[in-house]
Protein backbone atom coordinates (compact mmCIF):
# COMPACT_ATOMS: atom_id res chain seq x y z
CA UNK A 1 0.00 0.00 0.00
CA UNK A 2 1.22 3.45 -0.97
CA UNK A 3 0.75 6.13 1.68
CA UNK A 4 0.43 9.89 1.24
CA UNK A 5 4.06 10.20 2.29
CA UNK A 6 5.07 7.67 -0.40
CA UNK A 7 3.27 9.72 -3.06
CA UNK A 8 5.10 12.85 -1.89
CA UNK A 9 8.41 10.98 -1.93
CA UNK A 10 8.02 9.53 -5.43
CA UNK A 11 6.73 12.90 -6.65
CA UNK A 12 10.05 14.35 -5.48
CA UNK A 13 12.08 11.51 -7.01
CA UNK A 14 10.25 11.98 -10.34
CA UNK A 15 10.40 15.79 -10.07
CA UNK A 16 6.64 16.23 -10.43
CA UNK A 17 5.04 18.76 -8.09
CA UNK A 18 1.92 17.31 -6.45
CA UNK A 19 -0.51 19.34 -4.36
CA UNK A 20 -2.43 18.12 -1.29
CA UNK A 21 -5.63 17.17 -3.16
CA UNK A 22 -3.72 15.39 -5.93
CA UNK A 23 -1.76 13.39 -3.36
CA UNK A 24 -4.94 11.70 -2.17
CA UNK A 25 -6.19 11.07 -5.72
CA UNK A 26 -2.88 9.57 -6.80
CA UNK A 27 -2.74 7.44 -3.66
CA UNK A 28 -6.12 5.86 -4.43
CA UNK A 29 -5.55 5.29 -8.15
CA UNK A 30 -1.98 4.04 -7.73
CA UNK A 31 -3.03 1.62 -5.02
CA UNK A 32 -5.73 0.08 -7.18
CA UNK A 33 -3.19 -0.51 -9.95
CA UNK A 34 -0.58 -1.89 -7.52
CA UNK A 35 -3.18 -4.26 -6.11
CA UNK A 36 -3.70 -5.61 -9.62
CA UNK A 37 0.08 -5.99 -10.07
CA UNK A 38 0.11 -8.07 -6.89
CA UNK A 39 -1.30 -11.04 -8.84
CA UNK A 40 2.23 -11.74 -10.10
CA UNK A 41 3.06 -13.01 -6.59
CA UNK A 42 1.09 -16.17 -7.47
CA UNK A 43 3.89 -17.23 -9.82
CA UNK A 44 7.01 -19.02 -8.60
CA UNK A 45 9.90 -17.32 -10.39
CA UNK A 46 13.00 -18.05 -8.26
CA UNK A 47 14.59 -20.08 -11.07
CA UNK A 48 13.46 -17.89 -13.96
CA UNK A 49 15.92 -15.48 -15.60
CA UNK A 50 14.66 -11.97 -16.36
CA UNK A 51 14.10 -10.83 -19.97
CA UNK A 52 15.12 -7.19 -20.40
CA UNK A 53 14.41 -7.30 -24.12
CA UNK A 54 13.92 -10.07 -26.68
CA UNK A 55 16.50 -9.02 -29.28
CA UNK A 56 19.31 -11.54 -29.08
CA UNK A 57 22.05 -8.94 -29.35
CA UNK A 58 24.55 -7.81 -26.77
CA UNK A 59 27.12 -5.02 -26.50
CA UNK A 60 26.42 -3.06 -29.66
CA UNK A 61 29.53 -0.95 -30.24
CA UNK A 62 30.69 1.44 -32.92
CA UNK A 63 34.11 2.77 -33.79
CA UNK A 64 35.10 5.65 -31.53
CA UNK A 65 35.31 8.27 -34.25
CA UNK A 66 33.91 11.79 -34.33
CA UNK A 67 31.03 12.13 -36.76
CA UNK A 68 29.00 15.03 -38.06
CA UNK A 69 26.53 16.41 -35.54
CA UNK A 70 23.90 19.14 -35.43
CA UNK A 71 25.22 22.72 -35.41
CA UNK A 72 24.97 24.53 -32.05
CA UNK A 73 22.43 27.09 -33.30
CA UNK A 74 20.14 24.30 -34.53
CA UNK A 75 20.26 22.59 -31.15
CA UNK A 76 19.49 25.86 -29.38
CA UNK A 77 16.69 26.80 -31.80
CA UNK A 78 13.99 25.09 -29.73
CA UNK A 79 14.34 27.30 -26.66
CA UNK A 80 14.30 30.98 -25.77
CA UNK A 81 16.25 30.23 -22.62
CA UNK A 82 19.78 30.45 -23.94
CA UNK A 83 22.88 32.52 -23.37
CA UNK A 84 26.38 32.49 -24.88
CA UNK A 85 25.72 29.30 -26.82
CA UNK A 86 24.36 27.38 -23.82
CA UNK A 87 20.98 26.57 -22.25
CA UNK A 88 20.04 28.95 -19.47
CA UNK A 89 18.43 27.51 -16.31
CA UNK A 90 17.79 28.83 -12.80
CA UNK A 91 20.40 28.12 -10.11
CA UNK A 92 20.31 24.61 -8.64
CA UNK A 93 19.58 25.30 -4.97
Amino acid sequence: MITKEDVEHIGWLARIEINEQETVEYMEKLNSVLEYFGQLDELQTEDVAPTYHVAEIYNVFREDVVEECLPQETVLANTENKQDGAFRVPKIG
Binding site: I2, D6, V7, I10, G11, W12, L13, A14, R15, I16, E17, I18, Y26, K29, L30, S32, V33, L34, Y36, F37, Q39, L40, D41, E42, L43, T45, V48, A49, P50, T51, Y52, H53, V54, A55, I57, V60, R62, L70, T74, V75, A77, N78, T79, N81, F87, V89, P90, K91, I92, G93
Partner: protein, 475 residues
Protein backbone atom coordinates in the same frame (compact mmCIF):
# COMPACT_ATOMS: atom_id res chain seq x y z
CA UNK B 1 -11.04 11.08 -57.41
CA UNK B 2 -12.16 8.24 -55.17
CA UNK B 3 -12.01 9.01 -51.46
CA UNK B 4 -10.48 5.69 -50.47
CA UNK B 5 -7.64 4.55 -52.67
CA UNK B 6 -5.02 1.85 -52.35
CA UNK B 7 -1.41 2.86 -52.87
CA UNK B 8 -1.51 1.25 -56.32
CA UNK B 9 -4.58 3.36 -57.19
CA UNK B 10 -2.89 6.50 -55.85
CA UNK B 11 0.10 5.79 -58.07
CA UNK B 12 -2.18 5.34 -61.09
CA UNK B 13 -3.87 8.63 -60.29
CA UNK B 14 -0.50 10.37 -60.07
CA UNK B 15 0.35 8.97 -63.52
CA UNK B 16 -2.95 10.23 -64.93
CA UNK B 17 -2.89 13.64 -63.29
CA UNK B 18 -0.07 14.70 -60.95
CA UNK B 19 1.31 14.23 -57.46
CA UNK B 20 0.24 17.80 -56.74
CA UNK B 21 -3.36 17.08 -57.67
CA UNK B 22 -3.47 13.93 -55.53
CA UNK B 23 -1.95 15.69 -52.50
CA UNK B 24 -4.28 18.66 -52.99
CA UNK B 25 -7.24 16.29 -53.00
CA UNK B 26 -6.18 14.72 -49.70
CA UNK B 27 -5.62 18.16 -48.16
CA UNK B 28 -9.14 19.12 -49.27
CA UNK B 29 -10.62 16.03 -47.58
CA UNK B 30 -8.58 16.76 -44.43
CA UNK B 31 -9.90 20.33 -44.47
CA UNK B 32 -13.46 18.99 -44.13
CA UNK B 33 -12.58 16.46 -41.43
CA UNK B 34 -15.02 15.66 -38.62
CA UNK B 35 -12.66 13.48 -36.60
CA UNK B 36 -9.73 15.60 -35.25
CA UNK B 37 -7.27 13.07 -36.62
CA UNK B 38 -4.46 15.47 -37.53
CA UNK B 39 -2.61 17.69 -35.06
CA UNK B 40 -0.56 19.34 -37.80
CA UNK B 41 -1.25 19.47 -41.52
CA UNK B 42 2.02 20.02 -43.34
CA UNK B 43 2.35 23.34 -45.13
CA UNK B 44 5.11 21.77 -47.20
CA UNK B 45 3.13 18.82 -48.60
CA UNK B 46 2.03 20.55 -51.80
CA UNK B 47 5.50 21.93 -52.37
CA UNK B 48 6.94 18.43 -51.89
CA UNK B 49 4.44 16.99 -54.38
CA UNK B 50 5.14 19.73 -56.94
CA UNK B 51 8.86 19.05 -56.67
CA UNK B 52 8.25 15.39 -57.45
CA UNK B 53 6.12 16.33 -60.49
CA UNK B 54 8.79 18.73 -61.73
CA UNK B 55 11.92 16.72 -61.08
CA UNK B 56 10.53 13.22 -61.36
CA UNK B 57 11.23 10.50 -58.80
CA UNK B 58 11.98 6.84 -59.30
CA UNK B 59 11.14 5.75 -55.73
CA UNK B 60 8.43 3.19 -55.00
CA UNK B 61 6.25 5.84 -53.31
CA UNK B 62 6.90 8.77 -55.66
CA UNK B 63 4.29 11.40 -54.80
CA UNK B 64 2.25 9.08 -52.55
CA UNK B 65 0.91 10.92 -49.47
CA UNK B 66 1.23 9.48 -45.97
CA UNK B 67 0.19 10.48 -42.42
CA UNK B 68 2.67 10.21 -39.54
CA UNK B 69 1.99 9.71 -35.83
CA UNK B 70 3.06 12.73 -33.81
CA UNK B 71 5.83 10.89 -31.94
CA UNK B 72 7.87 10.22 -35.11
CA UNK B 73 10.28 13.07 -35.88
CA UNK B 74 9.85 14.93 -39.17
CA UNK B 75 12.13 17.93 -39.80
CA UNK B 76 10.17 21.17 -39.80
CA UNK B 77 6.90 19.78 -38.39
CA UNK B 78 5.96 20.06 -34.69
CA UNK B 79 6.33 16.82 -32.74
CA UNK B 80 4.04 17.12 -29.74
CA UNK B 81 3.48 13.48 -28.76
CA UNK B 82 0.00 14.73 -27.84
CA UNK B 83 1.54 16.60 -24.89
CA UNK B 84 1.68 20.17 -23.69
CA UNK B 85 5.24 19.66 -22.49
CA UNK B 86 6.56 19.62 -26.07
CA UNK B 87 4.81 22.90 -26.93
CA UNK B 88 6.63 24.62 -29.79
CA UNK B 89 9.17 21.82 -30.28
CA UNK B 90 10.18 21.21 -33.90
CA UNK B 91 12.61 18.33 -34.45
CA UNK B 92 15.89 19.26 -36.15
CA UNK B 93 16.32 15.73 -37.56
CA UNK B 94 14.24 13.05 -39.29
CA UNK B 95 13.46 9.65 -37.81
CA UNK B 96 15.03 6.74 -39.71
CA UNK B 97 11.62 5.71 -41.06
CA UNK B 98 11.03 9.25 -42.35
CA UNK B 99 14.41 9.27 -44.12
CA UNK B 100 13.38 6.01 -45.77
CA UNK B 101 9.94 7.35 -46.75
CA UNK B 102 11.33 10.57 -48.20
CA UNK B 103 13.95 8.64 -50.15
CA UNK B 104 11.10 6.52 -51.55
CA UNK B 105 9.33 9.70 -52.69
CA UNK B 106 6.49 9.80 -50.13
CA UNK B 107 4.78 13.11 -49.31
CA UNK B 108 4.13 13.74 -45.60
CA UNK B 109 0.56 15.08 -45.24
CA UNK B 110 0.84 15.82 -41.54
CA UNK B 111 1.15 14.53 -37.99
CA UNK B 112 -1.64 12.57 -36.33
CA UNK B 113 -3.25 12.69 -32.91
CA UNK B 114 -2.29 10.17 -30.24
CA UNK B 115 -2.59 9.41 -26.57
CA UNK B 116 -0.07 11.56 -24.72
CA UNK B 117 3.35 9.93 -25.16
CA UNK B 118 1.49 6.88 -26.54
CA UNK B 119 0.07 6.10 -23.09
CA UNK B 120 -3.50 5.02 -23.66
CA UNK B 121 -5.82 2.89 -25.74
CA UNK B 122 -8.33 5.51 -26.82
CA UNK B 123 -6.50 8.70 -27.94
CA UNK B 124 -8.40 10.46 -25.13
CA UNK B 125 -5.28 11.35 -23.13
CA UNK B 126 -4.09 13.68 -25.91
CA UNK B 127 -3.62 17.27 -24.73
CA UNK B 128 -5.39 18.28 -27.96
CA UNK B 129 -8.65 16.41 -27.32
CA UNK B 130 -9.78 12.99 -28.52
CA UNK B 131 -10.03 11.81 -32.11
CA UNK B 132 -13.42 10.43 -33.15
CA UNK B 133 -13.94 6.96 -34.56
CA UNK B 134 -15.07 7.41 -38.19
CA UNK B 135 -17.62 4.58 -37.70
CA UNK B 136 -19.32 6.40 -34.83
CA UNK B 137 -18.15 9.89 -33.99
CA UNK B 138 -19.13 9.46 -30.33
CA UNK B 139 -16.74 6.56 -29.93
CA UNK B 140 -12.98 6.35 -29.49
CA UNK B 141 -10.77 5.30 -32.41
CA UNK B 142 -8.62 3.19 -30.11
CA UNK B 143 -5.08 4.13 -29.31
CA UNK B 144 -2.56 5.20 -28.93
CA UNK B 145 -2.14 5.61 -32.72
CA UNK B 146 -5.82 6.60 -32.95
CA UNK B 147 -5.22 9.55 -35.24
CA UNK B 148 -3.28 7.45 -37.75
CA UNK B 149 -5.93 4.69 -37.86
CA UNK B 150 -8.84 7.14 -38.01
CA UNK B 151 -7.45 9.23 -40.88
CA UNK B 152 -6.83 6.06 -42.91
CA UNK B 153 -10.37 4.82 -42.17
CA UNK B 154 -11.83 8.23 -43.05
CA UNK B 155 -10.01 8.50 -46.40
CA UNK B 156 -7.81 11.36 -45.16
CA UNK B 157 -4.62 9.47 -46.06
CA UNK B 158 -4.03 6.29 -48.06
CA UNK B 159 -1.85 4.92 -45.28
CA UNK B 160 -0.04 5.97 -42.14
CA UNK B 161 2.66 5.18 -39.61
CA UNK B 162 1.93 4.52 -35.96
CA UNK B 163 3.88 3.02 -33.10
CA UNK B 164 2.94 -0.04 -31.05
CA UNK B 165 4.18 -0.46 -27.47
CA UNK B 166 1.35 -2.63 -26.11
CA UNK B 167 -1.14 -2.64 -28.98
CA UNK B 168 -1.07 0.97 -30.12
CA UNK B 169 -1.19 0.09 -33.84
CA UNK B 170 -3.41 -2.99 -33.65
CA UNK B 171 -6.02 -1.63 -31.22
CA UNK B 172 -6.93 1.42 -33.34
CA UNK B 173 -6.71 -0.70 -36.49
CA UNK B 174 -9.33 -3.06 -35.02
CA UNK B 175 -11.57 -0.23 -33.74
CA UNK B 176 -11.40 1.72 -37.03
CA UNK B 177 -11.71 -1.26 -39.41
CA UNK B 178 -8.27 -0.92 -41.02
CA UNK B 179 -5.18 -3.13 -41.19
CA UNK B 180 -2.30 -2.54 -38.74
CA UNK B 181 0.97 -4.39 -38.26
CA UNK B 182 3.29 -4.51 -35.26
CA UNK B 183 6.55 -5.76 -36.78
CA UNK B 184 9.03 -8.04 -35.02
CA UNK B 185 11.03 -6.22 -32.35
CA UNK B 186 14.18 -4.95 -34.09
CA UNK B 187 12.77 -5.06 -37.64
CA UNK B 188 12.17 -1.30 -37.91
CA UNK B 189 14.54 1.32 -36.51
CA UNK B 190 13.25 3.39 -33.60
CA UNK B 191 15.75 6.19 -34.28
CA UNK B 192 13.89 9.49 -34.08
CA UNK B 193 10.79 7.98 -32.46
CA UNK B 194 10.12 9.48 -29.03
CA UNK B 195 10.65 6.64 -26.56
CA UNK B 196 7.94 5.48 -24.17
CA UNK B 197 9.05 1.90 -23.41
CA UNK B 198 12.05 1.01 -25.58
CA UNK B 199 12.13 -2.72 -24.99
CA UNK B 200 8.55 -3.11 -26.23
CA UNK B 201 7.83 -0.65 -29.00
CA UNK B 202 8.05 -0.77 -32.77
CA UNK B 203 6.96 1.57 -35.55
CA UNK B 204 4.16 -0.04 -37.54
CA UNK B 205 2.13 0.67 -40.70
CA UNK B 206 -1.65 1.22 -40.92
CA UNK B 207 -3.54 0.92 -44.22
CA UNK B 208 -6.84 -0.01 -45.85
CA UNK B 209 -5.47 -3.30 -47.15
CA UNK B 210 -2.69 -5.84 -46.55
CA UNK B 211 -0.83 -5.10 -49.76
CA UNK B 212 -0.25 -1.48 -48.71
CA UNK B 213 1.10 -2.70 -45.36
CA UNK B 214 3.64 -4.83 -47.26
CA UNK B 215 4.55 -1.92 -49.55
CA UNK B 216 5.23 0.27 -46.53
CA UNK B 217 7.16 -2.43 -44.66
CA UNK B 218 9.47 -2.93 -47.64
CA UNK B 219 10.31 0.77 -47.44
CA UNK B 220 10.71 1.26 -43.66
CA UNK B 221 12.16 -2.04 -42.40
CA UNK B 222 15.86 -2.77 -42.30
CA UNK B 223 19.00 -2.32 -40.27
CA UNK B 224 19.97 1.06 -38.81
CA UNK B 225 23.06 1.34 -36.65
CA UNK B 226 21.59 4.36 -34.81
CA UNK B 227 19.13 2.02 -33.06
CA UNK B 228 21.16 -0.40 -30.96
CA UNK B 229 18.29 -2.92 -31.00
CA UNK B 230 18.03 -2.88 -34.80
CA UNK B 231 18.49 -6.37 -36.24
CA UNK B 232 19.89 -7.00 -39.69
CA UNK B 233 17.30 -9.48 -40.94
CA UNK B 234 15.22 -7.81 -43.61
CA UNK B 235 12.45 -9.86 -45.19
CA UNK B 236 10.72 -9.02 -48.45
CA UNK B 237 7.10 -8.50 -47.57
CA UNK B 238 5.48 -7.86 -50.97
CA UNK B 239 6.80 -11.15 -52.31
CA UNK B 240 4.85 -12.99 -49.62
CA UNK B 241 1.46 -11.77 -50.87
CA UNK B 242 0.15 -15.03 -52.26
CA UNK B 243 -3.49 -16.14 -52.04
CA UNK B 244 -2.73 -19.53 -50.56
CA UNK B 245 -2.92 -20.96 -47.03
CA UNK B 246 -3.05 -24.67 -47.90
CA UNK B 247 -1.31 -26.70 -45.24
CA UNK B 248 -0.86 -23.72 -42.94
CA UNK B 249 -1.11 -24.69 -39.26
CA UNK B 250 -3.04 -22.26 -37.07
CA UNK B 251 -3.01 -22.27 -33.27
CA UNK B 252 -5.94 -20.80 -31.37
CA UNK B 253 -4.87 -19.83 -27.83
CA UNK B 254 -7.94 -20.15 -25.62
CA UNK B 255 -6.52 -17.62 -23.14
CA UNK B 256 -7.23 -14.87 -25.70
CA UNK B 257 -10.95 -15.63 -25.54
CA UNK B 258 -11.27 -14.78 -21.87
CA UNK B 259 -14.02 -13.52 -19.65
CA UNK B 260 -15.75 -10.36 -20.86
CA UNK B 261 -15.24 -10.98 -24.57
CA UNK B 262 -18.13 -9.69 -26.71
CA UNK B 263 -20.03 -12.65 -28.22
CA UNK B 264 -20.03 -11.07 -31.69
CA UNK B 265 -16.25 -10.62 -31.51
CA UNK B 266 -15.81 -14.26 -30.53
CA UNK B 267 -18.09 -15.40 -33.36
CA UNK B 268 -16.42 -13.19 -36.01
CA UNK B 269 -12.97 -14.51 -35.05
CA UNK B 270 -14.13 -18.15 -35.13
CA UNK B 271 -15.82 -17.50 -38.49
CA UNK B 272 -12.47 -16.24 -39.74
CA UNK B 273 -10.65 -19.33 -38.44
CA UNK B 274 -13.23 -21.56 -40.15
CA UNK B 275 -12.73 -19.54 -43.32
CA UNK B 276 -9.03 -20.42 -43.19
CA UNK B 277 -10.01 -24.06 -42.70
CA UNK B 278 -12.20 -23.91 -45.81
CA UNK B 279 -9.20 -22.50 -47.70
CA UNK B 280 -7.01 -25.46 -46.77
CA UNK B 281 -5.42 -24.49 -43.46
CA UNK B 282 -5.76 -26.55 -40.29
CA UNK B 283 -6.29 -25.28 -36.75
CA UNK B 284 -6.01 -26.56 -33.23
CA UNK B 285 -6.45 -25.08 -29.79
CA UNK B 286 -3.26 -24.30 -27.93
CA UNK B 287 -2.70 -23.29 -24.34
CA UNK B 288 -0.53 -20.40 -23.17
CA UNK B 289 -0.94 -20.53 -19.39
CA UNK B 290 1.05 -17.38 -18.53
CA UNK B 291 -0.86 -15.06 -20.85
CA UNK B 292 -3.10 -13.99 -17.98
CA UNK B 293 -0.08 -12.44 -16.25
CA UNK B 294 0.97 -10.49 -19.35
CA UNK B 295 -0.99 -7.36 -18.60
CA UNK B 296 0.54 -6.80 -15.14
CA UNK B 297 4.02 -7.65 -16.41
CA UNK B 298 3.59 -5.38 -19.42
CA UNK B 299 2.38 -2.39 -17.44
CA UNK B 300 5.12 -2.65 -14.81
CA UNK B 301 7.85 -2.84 -17.47
CA UNK B 302 6.31 -0.06 -19.58
CA UNK B 303 5.89 2.27 -16.59
CA UNK B 304 9.42 1.63 -15.32
CA UNK B 305 10.92 2.34 -18.73
CA UNK B 306 8.66 5.40 -19.11
CA UNK B 307 9.76 6.86 -15.77
CA UNK B 308 13.34 6.78 -17.02
CA UNK B 309 12.66 7.83 -20.64
CA UNK B 310 10.45 10.77 -19.77
CA UNK B 311 13.02 12.18 -17.34
CA UNK B 312 14.42 14.12 -20.32
CA UNK B 313 11.37 16.39 -20.40
CA UNK B 314 12.58 18.95 -17.91
CA UNK B 315 11.90 22.27 -19.64
CA UNK B 316 15.58 22.89 -20.27
CA UNK B 317 16.28 22.39 -23.95
CA UNK B 318 12.90 22.52 -25.70
CA UNK B 319 9.18 22.75 -25.14
CA UNK B 320 7.19 24.22 -22.29
CA UNK B 321 8.89 25.69 -19.20
CA UNK B 322 7.45 27.05 -15.93
CA UNK B 323 9.47 29.71 -14.20
CA UNK B 324 10.63 29.10 -10.65
CA UNK B 325 13.27 30.28 -8.21
CA UNK B 326 15.56 27.26 -8.54
CA UNK B 327 16.29 24.29 -10.81
CA UNK B 328 14.36 21.61 -8.91
CA UNK B 329 11.26 23.78 -8.59
CA UNK B 330 11.43 24.73 -12.28
CA UNK B 331 11.60 21.08 -13.35
CA UNK B 332 8.93 19.94 -10.89
CA UNK B 333 6.48 22.68 -11.90
CA UNK B 334 7.20 22.23 -15.62
CA UNK B 335 6.46 18.52 -15.37
CA UNK B 336 3.39 19.05 -13.15
CA UNK B 337 1.81 21.41 -15.68
CA UNK B 338 3.30 19.96 -18.86
CA UNK B 339 2.28 16.32 -18.43
CA UNK B 340 -1.31 15.07 -18.33
CA UNK B 341 -2.72 12.95 -15.51
CA UNK B 342 -2.21 9.52 -17.10
CA UNK B 343 1.41 10.24 -18.03
CA UNK B 344 2.11 11.43 -14.48
CA UNK B 345 0.44 8.33 -13.04
CA UNK B 346 2.67 6.07 -15.12
CA UNK B 347 5.84 8.00 -14.30
CA UNK B 348 4.98 7.88 -10.58
CA UNK B 349 4.18 4.16 -10.64
CA UNK B 350 7.33 3.43 -12.63
CA UNK B 351 9.40 5.51 -10.23
CA UNK B 352 7.86 3.65 -7.29
CA UNK B 353 8.39 0.20 -8.86
CA UNK B 354 12.07 1.00 -9.45
CA UNK B 355 12.71 2.62 -6.08
CA UNK B 356 14.76 1.09 -3.29
CA UNK B 357 12.88 -1.77 -1.65
CA UNK B 358 10.39 -2.32 -4.50
CA UNK B 359 12.63 -3.02 -7.50
CA UNK B 360 12.68 -6.80 -6.99
CA UNK B 361 9.02 -7.08 -6.06
CA UNK B 362 7.75 -5.28 -9.15
CA UNK B 363 10.32 -4.66 -11.88
CA UNK B 364 12.44 -7.79 -11.56
CA UNK B 365 9.33 -9.91 -11.06
CA UNK B 366 7.75 -8.47 -14.22
CA UNK B 367 10.91 -9.22 -16.23
CA UNK B 368 10.83 -12.83 -15.02
CA UNK B 369 7.17 -13.17 -15.93
CA UNK B 370 8.08 -11.75 -19.33
CA UNK B 371 10.41 -14.74 -19.75
CA UNK B 372 7.50 -17.09 -19.01
CA UNK B 373 5.24 -15.32 -21.51
CA UNK B 374 8.00 -15.46 -24.14
CA UNK B 375 8.37 -19.21 -23.46
CA UNK B 376 4.61 -19.65 -23.99
CA UNK B 377 4.94 -18.04 -27.42
CA UNK B 378 8.07 -20.06 -28.31
CA UNK B 379 6.32 -23.30 -27.36
CA UNK B 380 3.03 -22.52 -29.11
CA UNK B 381 4.77 -21.31 -32.27
CA UNK B 382 6.99 -24.39 -32.42
CA UNK B 383 3.90 -26.52 -33.09
CA UNK B 384 2.01 -24.17 -35.43
CA UNK B 385 2.84 -21.51 -38.06
CA UNK B 386 0.59 -18.77 -36.73
CA UNK B 387 -1.64 -17.92 -33.79
CA UNK B 388 -5.06 -16.32 -34.25
CA UNK B 389 -7.25 -14.48 -31.75
CA UNK B 390 -9.35 -11.35 -31.36
CA UNK B 391 -7.28 -8.14 -31.44
CA UNK B 392 -9.63 -6.45 -28.98
CA UNK B 393 -12.14 -8.33 -26.81
CA UNK B 394 -14.76 -5.63 -27.46
CA UNK B 395 -15.62 -3.07 -30.16
CA UNK B 396 -14.83 0.65 -29.78
CA UNK B 397 -16.26 2.16 -26.60
CA UNK B 398 -17.79 5.60 -26.08
CA UNK B 399 -15.59 8.66 -25.54
CA UNK B 400 -15.44 9.25 -21.78
CA UNK B 401 -16.65 5.75 -20.87
CA UNK B 402 -13.39 4.34 -19.49
CA UNK B 403 -11.14 7.32 -18.95
CA UNK B 404 -11.88 7.81 -15.23
CA UNK B 405 -10.54 4.48 -14.04
CA UNK B 406 -7.03 3.67 -15.29
CA UNK B 407 -7.29 -0.04 -14.57
CA UNK B 408 -10.44 -0.43 -16.69
CA UNK B 409 -8.63 1.17 -19.60
CA UNK B 410 -5.50 -0.96 -19.07
CA UNK B 411 -7.60 -4.14 -19.24
CA UNK B 412 -8.57 -3.38 -22.84
CA UNK B 413 -4.94 -4.17 -23.82
CA UNK B 414 -5.22 -7.74 -22.56
CA UNK B 415 -4.91 -9.38 -26.02
CA UNK B 416 -2.39 -7.01 -27.55
CA UNK B 417 0.30 -6.47 -24.90
CA UNK B 418 1.51 -10.12 -24.64
CA UNK B 419 2.82 -9.78 -28.22
CA UNK B 420 5.07 -6.86 -27.27
CA UNK B 421 6.49 -8.78 -24.31
CA UNK B 422 7.44 -11.60 -26.71
CA UNK B 423 8.53 -9.29 -29.55
CA UNK B 424 6.76 -11.33 -32.24
CA UNK B 425 5.04 -9.82 -35.30
CA UNK B 426 1.27 -9.40 -35.20
CA UNK B 427 -1.28 -7.94 -37.58
CA UNK B 428 -4.89 -6.89 -37.08
CA UNK B 429 -7.23 -7.28 -40.06
CA UNK B 430 -10.95 -6.47 -40.30
CA UNK B 431 -13.05 -9.64 -39.84
CA UNK B 432 -16.60 -8.43 -39.24
CA UNK B 433 -18.89 -5.95 -37.53
CA UNK B 434 -21.10 -5.70 -34.49
CA UNK B 435 -23.78 -2.99 -34.47
CA UNK B 436 -21.93 -1.16 -37.22
CA UNK B 437 -18.57 -1.25 -35.40
CA UNK B 438 -15.54 -3.08 -36.85
CA UNK B 439 -13.97 -6.20 -35.33
CA UNK B 440 -10.29 -7.11 -35.73
CA UNK B 441 -8.70 -10.54 -36.20
CA UNK B 442 -5.20 -10.74 -34.74
CA UNK B 443 -2.65 -12.94 -36.53
CA UNK B 444 0.63 -13.55 -34.69
CA UNK B 445 3.73 -15.18 -36.13
CA UNK B 446 7.28 -16.24 -35.37
CA UNK B 447 9.99 -13.58 -35.02
CA UNK B 448 10.87 -12.17 -38.46
CA UNK B 449 8.21 -14.32 -40.11
CA UNK B 450 6.23 -11.28 -41.32
CA UNK B 451 5.95 -13.07 -44.71
CA UNK B 452 3.72 -15.83 -43.28
CA UNK B 453 1.69 -13.35 -41.21
CA UNK B 454 1.14 -11.19 -44.30
CA UNK B 455 0.37 -14.15 -46.55
CA UNK B 456 -2.36 -15.31 -44.17
CA UNK B 457 -3.76 -11.79 -43.82
CA UNK B 458 -3.67 -11.27 -47.60
CA UNK B 459 -5.40 -14.59 -48.30
CA UNK B 460 -8.16 -13.74 -45.83
CA UNK B 461 -8.64 -10.39 -47.51
CA UNK B 462 -8.78 -11.95 -50.98
CA UNK B 463 -11.56 -14.27 -49.83
CA UNK B 464 -13.68 -11.88 -47.75
CA UNK B 465 -15.03 -8.35 -48.15
CA UNK B 466 -14.80 -6.87 -44.62
CA UNK B 467 -11.92 -4.58 -45.59
CA UNK B 468 -13.95 -3.01 -48.41
CA UNK B 469 -16.59 -1.55 -46.06
CA UNK B 470 -16.35 2.20 -45.44
CA UNK B 471 -17.65 4.28 -42.53
CA UNK B 472 -20.91 5.94 -43.65
CA UNK B 473 -20.62 8.95 -41.32
CA UNK B 474 -17.57 10.31 -43.11
CA UNK B 475 -18.38 9.12 -46.64
Amino acid sequence: MAKWMSVAQVKEKIEESSAEEVTARYLEVIGKSKINGYLTVSDKALEQAKKIDKEGHSGPLAGVPIAIKDNISVVGLPNSCGSKILEGYVPPFNAHVIEKLLAAGAVVLGKTNMDEFAMGSSTETSHFGPTSNPWDLERVPGGSSGGSAAVVAAGEAPFALGSDTGGSVRCPAAFCGVVGLKPTYGAVSRYGVVAYANSLEQVGPLANNVEDIAVLMDVIAGYDRRDSTSINNKTECQKSLVDDVKGLKIGVPKEFFGEGIHPDVEKAVWDAIHKYESLGATWKEVSMPNIKYSLASYYIIAMCEASSNLARFDGTRYGFRENAENWHAMVSKTRADGFGTEVKRRILLGTYALSAGYHDKYYLKALKVRTLVKQDFDKALSAVDLLMAPTMPNPAFKIGEKIEDPLTLYLSDVNTCPINLAGVPSISVPCGFTDGLPIGLQIMGKPFDEPTVLRAAYTFEQNTDHHTKRPPEVA
